[in-house]
Symmetry: C2
Subunit: 323 residues, 2 copies
């Protein structure tokens, strides 16, 4: 399976990542892959209605066989801090990954970022067609809530509904969808006035577009574990910082990376005239901010002591990744 | 408010609709409008994150000021059979309406049905732009689950999670999204072999594309009321029949209606070469089927006795509507 090799490679590319971290990232990725593979079938066991082959094929194409699966990994590892069963954390992680995959499919559409390649493969609207890509994205988003609502995710309905609320909020208007709208505005699509100029504008955009879901990955682990408020807040703080670090690392890669390493076109943000923290702080300034965020992440993990060693490694991995 | 006049008109256009039915349809429509207006704001009371103005504007444009609000009406009236608080039923109905509105926005996109007009107004991608329309649809779908997850919808988490599961299933792969995929295939987009020819194919497509959500409207009322299985099944059966009747009436309107009455282009199905029950049964045959479905709906309502008079009227309204 070539995708496993890629994941393993990715895990090792973070300079400070320990072998144990790399193994655990790969393990979560493989388990997520198998779970999504099991869930995304044309003939679900618990339904009499067959799912049309083409939509299932498009959803499988856009959600299987790729990616570091950082989001499910964060959910699983945070959940383990609270003694959550691994299968439950994987269900929640898979739901979040479905939302992540839907966002990629819709962001790649001609009317949005108009990308032909994703992880080195044709994007959904290139592989299939635009209508199928739109529907596959809609299907992935809808299915994420189906997965969260399953008793398999957690026997307690109040836990499941808290997950639904958290996912809806982090993926919605005050999160990912709202952030994507700000991102399009930042390209000057709707008039020059919309383009954010200052650091706070950029931080808000990024906190919404990519940060909210990454933060929720960690909050989801705490929700699953019925964590006390203090520890839940710590997980949220860690997730928030991870989200910021992820985005700065991404912006640095965009400036420094090349298309071969990233599997997508580099320098796209500059081409679109969007301000990033790298523009505002410079490369050295952005690197310093990133180092501070890694320290902040470590601070956020203090309440968990030695249990959080893997999440500490994850902070380094996110900040120092090369792809 | 011109939209109220339009709704009242629509309600009266069903020949057998009683004055009381028309008033109640209008009341549910107005209450749904007010609720959506309150929910879709840039500054939600329970969140520190401001929602970007443009996405809120697009979501308001595509969900306020139009439509009969048949779906929330069905949820409210079914819920009343089980003694559910009206505010709770309206929350669930509003969530379903948000999903309905998202489906219209995405179906209208150039890559899908490529419609320029909806309810006599420019469609979202014409009024705004294609990227904004895609995001507005994504936002409406995501927000529907946010609304269902609110304690305002029902204090019992197990009721709310049952609603989430029901909505995800009826809107997803085995429901609306899957049905839309079958519908595109029926146009011959992906090769001639996909075009359904027989009655069963057409019934399956319609049961998924429009039927699943209409059925769920009625099931949602029963879920909110913790209805016993027998009555829940009766509500489901009624909703299923209503969905079939709705679609045949729609197909008859498509053949017989004119653009002025419908506010959209008539005869579109024929132009796309899609088979409908009207094609398969003829106009007289389709009318006979519709009459039978109204009787089936009345039969399904028998367990509720005189309480169900408004839902009985609703069956006639759905079958006999002229717009």
């Amino acid at each position: 399976m070539p995708s496993t090799a890629t994941k393993s490679e990715s895990a090792k590319s973070g300079a400070a990542a320990s072998a144990s971290f790399a193994d655990r990232l790969t393990a979560a990725a493989n388990e997520t892959e198998h779970l999504l593979d099991r869930l995304l079938t044309t003939a679900p066991a618990d339904s009499e209605i067959a799912r049309p082959a083409r939509i299932v094929e498009a959803m499988r194409y856009t959600s299987l066989g790729g990616g570091k699966r950082l989001r499910p990994f964060l959910t699983v590892e945070t959940a383990l801090l609270f003694g959550v069963k691994r299968e439950q954390a994987l269900m929640a992680g898979a739901a979040i990954e479905l939302v992540h995959c839907y966002s990629l499919v819709h962001d790649d559409l001609p009317a949005m970022d108009n990308d032909d390649l994703r992880r080195g493969r044709p994007t959904a609207h290139k592989k299939f067609d635009e209508a199928t890509a739109i529907l596959a994205g809609d299907g992935l988003l809808t299915f994420a809530f189906d997965v969260l609502a399953c008793p398999e995710t957690h026997p307690d309905a109040s836990v499941r509904i808290a997950l639904v609320m958290g996912l809806a909020r982090s993926a919605g208007l005050g999160g990912m969808v709202g952030g994507q709208m700000l991102d399009l505005a930042a390209e000057g699509r709707f008039g020059k006035n919309d383009t954010p100029q200052g650091e706070q504008d950029v931080l808000t955009l990024q906190a919404m577009k990519t940060g909210a879901i990454l933060k929720f990955c960690c909050v989801a682990g705490a929700i699953l574990g019925n964590a006390p408020k203090e520890k839940r807040d710590a997980a949220a703080r860690y997730g928030q910082v991870i989200g910021q670090a992820f985005q700065i690392a991404d912006d640095l890669l965009d400036v420094e990376g090349d298309a071969a390493t990233l599997g997508k076109a580099a320098g796209k943000d500059a081409a679109h005239g969007k301000a990033t923290l790298v523009d505002l702080l410079g490369i050295a300034g952005a690197r310093a901010r990133l180092a501070q965020l890694v320290k902040d992440a470590e601070d956020a993990l203090k309440p968990f002591g030695a249990d959080a060693v893997i999440l500490k490694d994850a902070a380094h991995f996110v900040a120092e990744r090369r792809a």
